[in-house]
């Protein structure tokens, strides 16, 4: 039976279509813009709209992540690196476009050719939606015992992927620490300590009273929210990853307003490095405990020795799964929060170096952040 | 462990030991040289032992291992290989003596590396001679190419490095592009690469396929210096003379033709060879090469270049005999390997002795030297006679058998080419003797010795021995050939 999308019956589809068009328009603007700052701002916008679209597609977890990562961290790092490099890209000569254009068009046509055989958009009977995906929906409550299926799949069914994902963040943090250091340059020279992020901040610090007060109110709230997201992940959208990003952003905001060295005194780079690896250790450690108790790696049913598990969870509870998921989410949070902070330290700590080389930089741009 | 296995292990082990000990004693040249000579002499006895065992009807065998299924490293001596092994090991003993005299006389650098590589080359030659299948043969064939490269590039200057490049480029290039695919194809068609009496491929392949395989083998074994892959041989003459003498008169080039001979005899067999159209083309090519290389030799002013081109011609004899592949031709070819080996090594050693004594390489400069170096030039005369195929040298018999079998097999062009080449040999080797013995009136005094006392005794004695050997073959070759032929079927 041919499936047709019930555009009118499901308003989210209509909403989604509108957002999609918006996304396409933003992308067109990115393609033609040459100012890097504009491109970055538009990219941030793109990811935020994409996050909205994810909500329309019933994927709040993804939307949450996309918003904090794409709209938050990515944009921030991009801005930081623009600050460290240059402001606008050089135009591309049309002759250089020929080959990429052909390649891109070929690939596009290939995909469209394939898309023709994919079941219609939104078809509940499509193979993608009807097979394993549905199994998760039916079995999660029985086997894992938490309502947020995405969290269950993420942390339990495909917990190994998530361990991998955490490791990727860890590896990226290690990579950035290798390449850009730990921001030690910001601490190294007391005379320039406050210039670390933005030279303007030092001379004009009095203008920022409002900012500092507001930030002082906000940062504890952000921490609190981060923890809420972490522990709320089982029942609603959220989880360790989003929580980690929020915590990291709280630190970054602190650094932006109070200066990198202040932040680094409270949260030293060495601690961030330790946190990043500790997170992965916690995650993998949970798996190892499962193995020691006789289960497979990351089989949280064996988080506790079988008798204890029975005692804790009663007839049909899932104590092992609950505690296991929380434990690994804490690990993810630790790695992500510390890892992203370490990455930020790396970028932010690089600024004096560039400045001291007398690299030519255009006038500071006012708006944007 | 049977006696044969011990002999095979000794044949490989003695030169290996020699290479290792050369490095161990590299600080004490006297000890090193003594050890090398001792090893060489041991090997000569082993070589003789192998030959006598084979001719007594108990061919030594040894299975080492099978690195890949169907490709075994195994050794087994049949008469042809035993003959080659005996010849190579015997001549090596003499060459190592000669090499010591030459290297010390010429004060060459890097002597330890030289001896070590020479010894490894000998390991390879023994391996080739004793190989029980084409795979083993190929393995040692390549080892030979690689181990002789440092010998060719020995001097380390631009000219010798360039020669080394050409050398290794052609030899390795041909073997990996032609011989290796040929080997794989043979293994694919026959299931193994063993040398089998009457031919491994007999009755399994069509003439077309056989032709392709024959072409792959004949040109792949570029050590046989078949046109157009002959270029390495003249250019390798930059190497020190013992190398030219041992390797480029005996070991390397003979390994090339030996490979072809073994392949035509034991892989293809006379029937396949006779049915394949490629045989005819190659016989024509060989005939052409015999005449052409002899003509080129006449134009060369340098004595070693002349000898090299002569070698190209002589190798074509053996290849021609191998291509005809009937019993008599193969025997003749095998015998020619032997007689040419003795003759040509004598000539090279003479050239080396002249170089050590006077520093001369061009023939026109050698006027009157015959009077001052009588032993050397008498030996040179013997070598010349052997190459021409004149009595009282063994060259007579081998040429005789080759020419005769060529006529029998319906390849008169090959026979006539051989005859012509014998005549041409007078023109390219004769002048050396003429100029040295009977210098033109008023040509000036002979060149002075560069080194007090002329060529060292260690460099002269071996060439005298090989010259005597070449004459002795006149008497021994006939019986030896008959014995070979008689044994042919019994194995």
């Amino acid at each position: 039976m041919e499936w047709t999308a019930p555009l009118l019956a499901d308003p989210s589809l209509l909403f989604g279509a509108a957002l999609l068009v918006m996304l396409a328009a933003i992308l067109c603007a990115i393609v033609v813009s040459r100012k890097l700052l504009t491109s970055v701002a538009l990219t941030g916008l793109f990811t935020l709209v994409a996050a909205l679209w994810y909500i329309a597609m019933d994927a709040p977890d993804v939307a949450f992540t996309e918003a904090v990562v794409g709209g938050g961290v990515s944009t921030l790092i991009l801005l930081g690196s623009i600050l460290l490099t240059r402001e606008s890209a050089e135009p591309v000569s049309p002759s250089r476009m020929v080959f990429p254009a052909i390649a891109v068009i070929l690939a596009g046509v290939a995909i469209l050719y394939a898309v023709g055989s994919i079941p219609g958009f939104g078809d509940p009977a499509s193979p993608a939606n009807a097979s394993v995906g549905r199994d998760y929906l039916e079995r999660t409550y029985k086997e894992v015992g938490i309502p947020n299926v995405v969290s269950a799949v993420l942390a339990s069914y495909r917990g190994f992927d998530t361990l991998g994902e955490t490791t990727v963040v860890f590896a990226a943090a290690v990579g950035v620490m290798l390449l850009l250091g730990f921001g030690e340059r910001a601490l190294g020279d007391p005379a320039r300590r406050h210039e670390a992020l933005n030279p303007d901040l030092v001379e004009e610090i009095d203008h920022h009273v409002v900012l500092r007060v507001a930030t002082k109110i906000m940062i504890p709230l952000m921490f609190l929210f981060g923890l809420y997201v972490l522990f709320h992940g089982e029942v609603g959208a959220g989880g360790g990853f989003q929580a980690g990003v929020i915590l990291a952003i709280a630190l970054i905001v602190h650094a932006l307003v109070f200066g990198l060295s202040e932040t680094m005194r409270a949260f030293p780079a060495a601690a961030m490095r330790a946190g990043a690896s500790a997170g992965v250790l916690i995650y993998a450690g949970v798996g190892v405990i499962n193995m020691l108790n006789g289960g497979a790696f990351l089989d949280y049913d064996f988080l506790f020795p079988p008798p204890l598990e029975q005692a804790l969870s009663g007839p049909d509870g899932h104590a092992g799964q609950h505690y296991g998921i929380i434990a690994i989410e804490i690990g993810v949070t630790a790695t992500v929060a510390s890892g992203i902070t370490a990455i930020f330290y790396g970028f932010a700590g690089r600024a004096p170096d560039i400045a001291s080389r007398g690299a030519s930089r255009g006038p500071e741009s006012g708006g944007g952040s | 462990m049977t006696q044969g296995e011990i002999l095979i292990l000794l044949a490989l082990g003695a030169p290996t030991l020699s290479a290792v000990l050369a490095y161990v004693f590299h600080r004490a040249p006297d000890v090193r040289d003594t050890v090398i000579v001792v090893c060489a002499i041991v090997l000569a006895f082993v070589g003789w032992g192998l030959f006598s065992q084979t001719s007594a009807g108990v061919p030594p065998e040894l299975m080492v291992g099978e690195p890949a299924p169907g490709f075994a490293i195994a050794f087994r001596l049949e008469p042809l290989g035993a003959l080659f092994a005996a010849m190579a090991s015997g001549l090596w003993a003499l060459t190592s003596l000669y090499a010591i005299g030459y290297m010390r006389g010429a004060q060459e650098q890097n002597q330890t590396r030289f001896y070590a590589c020479l010894s490894i080359a000998m390991v390879a030659v023994m391996g080739v001679a004793m190989a029980a299948n084409l795979f083993t043969l190929f393995v040692f064939y390549e080892v030979l190419s690689l181990s002789t490269y440092p010998l060719v590039a020995h001097k380390g200057d631009e000219a010798s490095r360039k020669a080394g490049r050409i050398y290794v480029g052609i030899l390795l290039g041909a073997s990996v592009t032609l011989l290796l695919p040929g080997l794989a194809a043979i293994a694919y068609f026959a299931g193994s690469t063993d040398f089998v009496d009457g031919g491994l491929l007999a009755g399994t392949v069509s003439p077309t396929v056989a032709s392709i395989l024959i072409l792959l083998v004949v040109f792949g074994a570029a050590k046989g210096a078949m046109f157009p892959l002959h270029g390495w041989l003249p250019s390798a003459m930059v190497a020190p003379t013992p190398v030219s003498a041992m390797l480029h008169a005996v070991a390397v080039v003979k390994t090339g033709v030996f490979t072809i001979l073994k392949a035509t005899t034991y892989i293809f067999g006379s029937e396949v060879m006779a049915s394949a159209p490629a045989t005819d083309w190659l016989v024509w090519l060989a005939s052409g090469v015999i005449v052409w290389a002899s003509l080129v030799a006449i134009t060369k002013p340098e004595i070693k270049a002349r000898l090299a081109w002569s070698t190209i011609a002589q190798l074509a004899y053996i290849i021609g005999g191998a291509l005809i592949a009937v019993e008599r031709a193969v025997t003749g070819a095998a015998l020619h390997m032997l007689t040419h080996g003795f003759g040509k090594i004598t000539l090279f050693m003479c050239a080396g002795a002249i170089y050590v004594a006077t520093g001369l390489t061009r023939i026109e400069d050698m006027r009157g030297l015959g009077r001052r170096m009588p032993v050397v030039f008498i030996a040179f005369l013997v070598g010349t006679l052997s190459i021409m195929g004149m009595p009282p040298t063994g060259g007579l018999w081998s040429k005789f058998m080759l020419i005769g079998s060529a006529f029998d097999a319906g390849a008169p062009q090959l026979a006539w080419a051989m005859v012509a080449s014998s005549v041409l040999a007078v023109f390219y080797l004769g002048p050396v003797l003429l100029i040295a013995m009977f210098p033109a009136e008023g040509a000036g005094p002979p060149a002075p010795f560069k080194r007090a006392g002329g060529a060292p005794g260690l460099a002269v004695a071996p060439l005298a021995v090989t010259a005597i050997g070449a004459i002795a073959l006149f008497f021994l070759a006939g019986p030896a050939a008959e014995r070979l032929q008689a044994l042919w079927g019994s194995l």
């Binding site: 394939a114 499509s126 798996g287 | -």
Partner: protein, 514 residues
């Protein structure tokens, strides 16, 4: 079967967990290495964890040999729901190769890092290395298409940064690493899109499950395109011509430790995935696929073999010569795979193993010799054999193996390759391999000539003998090159059983006359 069974002394309970432990061990060690108080500790951890992974790989391989395919359900959830580690002979072979190389690289890394990277960053380098090791091992063991993507990224992300660390000696490392990052990520994203199509068509991510569902589908279109995207993505990662441009630059400017490890393993792991998709997931019996093999993969391989060999023959920098040669050698493997015969795959795997052994030795020797030499130019290695005889002799042995000289591993693998191509009636391809070997003679000869026969420059060569901790793994590899050239039981056994596992039993024995 593999000759290393004597190492299989783990208790049964340990052996059951081996598939997870082989990945988790290095992963935990990576975190610990980053936390390590000093570079010595990090180095010990690195060696220890690699050795542990190797031990587990041996246990795994012998278990596979004993009982066939091992399936390990991560998290205790059965296959299509959870992530499955599916270990067959093919995976086991790669796990052995990767972890074995890791042990040698780890030993090598101690002294090598000393001269190349500031010492405060050693723990990070070791941590990154171990992460990469865990990623590669996971990549070859997993039976889940998406999990493979994650491992692809784990094994790459740290590596990009570590390649860029070569910039302290030569700033060209930075753009090289950047290029690699872009290409690698495009490759990974293509792979991701391809997996998306497979998922859209079949609704599952487990490779075996996908393979089981493909025959039941009515429309092939998204499978075709999915396959195309996966293969292009993996070809980018495996540096298959013409998608190889990132590799020479990345290999020639990275720190030695990274090059040694990557040259022996990284592109190989992607080749593994290519084989896995072509054989296990698509089972070689699919029209589009066979057309692809014969008309796309084979010509590209041939072009890659010839063009990159020639580039190697003219390049002035020694590491880039070897890097170009690596691309050519990948071409050999894909060419043999393109025959879609069991013999071809077996020959490709055999060559892959041997190539890992020889290239690691080559790069290791250069890394060891070049501790005191900042330059990469071939001409600066003039007469190196005199000043560093041990290092350069090992280098020479490995170079001979690369050339395919008899009595070395390279020879046997070339022989197998030619044999398998002849058996598949691809005589022309065998000729191509011969031709490229001929070019190989030139570029290896060039290196040889400079290293062994050119006199040292005025004032002596800057090349010095490598320290013992480098000579040890180096000579181990050099001896392995000879050993596997004489007795190839181990690699051949691995390759044959691996090919047998994905292709059915090998049909080619030399007696397999038509």
């Amino acid at each position: 079967m593999i000759g290393l069974e004597f190492l299989n002394i783990a208790p049964q309970r340990f052996a059951e967990q081996a598939p997870a432990l082989v990945v988790v061990g290095p992963l935990i060690a990576a975190c610990a290495a980053v936390l390590a108080p000093g570079r010595r500790w990090a180095w010990f951890l690195c060696v220890g964890a690699s050795a542990f992974a190797f031990w587990m790989a041996v246990v795994l391989a012998s278990e596979v040999a004993r009982q066939g395919v091992i399936s390990y359900a991560m998290g205790g959830f059965p296959a299509p729901l959870g992530i499955e580690f599916r270990v067959d002979a093919l995976s086991a072979m790669f796990a052995l190769l990767i972890s074995g190389m890791a042990v040698l690289t780890a030993v090598f890394s101690g002294e090598s890092l000393e001269t190349e990277i500031m010492s405060s960053k050693h723990p990070l380098m070791q941590g990154g290395f171990l992460t990469c090791l865990a990623g590669l091992l996971g990549l070859v063991l997993t039976g889940d298409a998406f999990n493979a993507f994650v491992f692809l990224e784990i094994s790459s992300i740290g590596v990009y940064a570590m390649i860029a660390m070569g910039g302290a000696r030569d700033r060209r490392a930075y753009p090289a690493a950047f290029n690699y990052l872009i290409m690698g990520t495009i490759g990974a994203t293509f792979y991701l899109i391809g997996v998306g199509f497979l998922y859209a068509a079949t609704g599952t991510l487990n490779m075996a499950d996908i393979a089981a569902r493909i025959p039941t589908l009515t429309s092939d279109r998204s499978i075709e395109v999915g396959l195309a995207f996966i293969l292009i993505g993996l070809a980018l990662k495996a540096a298959v011509f013409p998608l190889h441009q990132w590799l020479p630059a990345a290999y020639s400017h990275a720190p030695s430790m990274i090059v040694v490890f990557l040259s022996a393993t990284a592109t190989k792991a992607s080749v593994y995935l290519i084989i896995r998709y072509l054989s296990t997931v698509f089972a070689f019996d699919w029209q589009v696929e066979t057309a692809f093999m014969a008309f796309v993969l084979a010509p590209l391989s041939v072009a890659g073999i010839l063009i990159c060999s020639m580039q190697a023959a003219v390049d002035p920098e020694i590491r880039r010569i070897l890097a170009y040669s690596s691309v050519a050698q990948v071409g050999y493997m894909t060419l043999a795979i393109a025959t879609a015969t069991s013999a071809g795959v077996s020959a490709a795997l055999f060559h892959l193993f041997n190539h890992g052994v020889m290239k690691a030795a080559l790069f290791m020797a250069i890394g060891g010799a070049a501790i005191h030499l900042k330059s990469q130019r071939l001409s600066d290695f003039a007469g190196a054999a005199k000043s560093a005889p041990w290092t350069m002799t090992a280098f020479g042995i490995a170079a001979l193996s690369l050339l395919g000289a008899p009595l070395t591993a390279g020879f046997l693998s070339k022989l197998r390759l030619i044999q398998s191509l002849v058996a598949a009636d691809w005589g022309w391809a065998a000729a191509v391999i011969g031709l490229s070997s001929l070019i190989g003679v030139f570029y290896v000869g060039r290196i040889f000539e400079v290293v062994f026969f050119r006199s040292e420059p005025e004032g002596g060569s800057a090349v010095r003998e490598a320290p013992v901790s480098i000579l040890l793994p180096l000579w181990l590899l050099a001896i392995a090159n000879i050993w596997f050239g004489i007795d190839a039981t181990i690699p051949l056994g691995l390759a044959e059983s691996a090919a047998g596992a994905v292709m059915g039993a090998t049909t080619l024995s030399p007696a397999g006359a038509p």
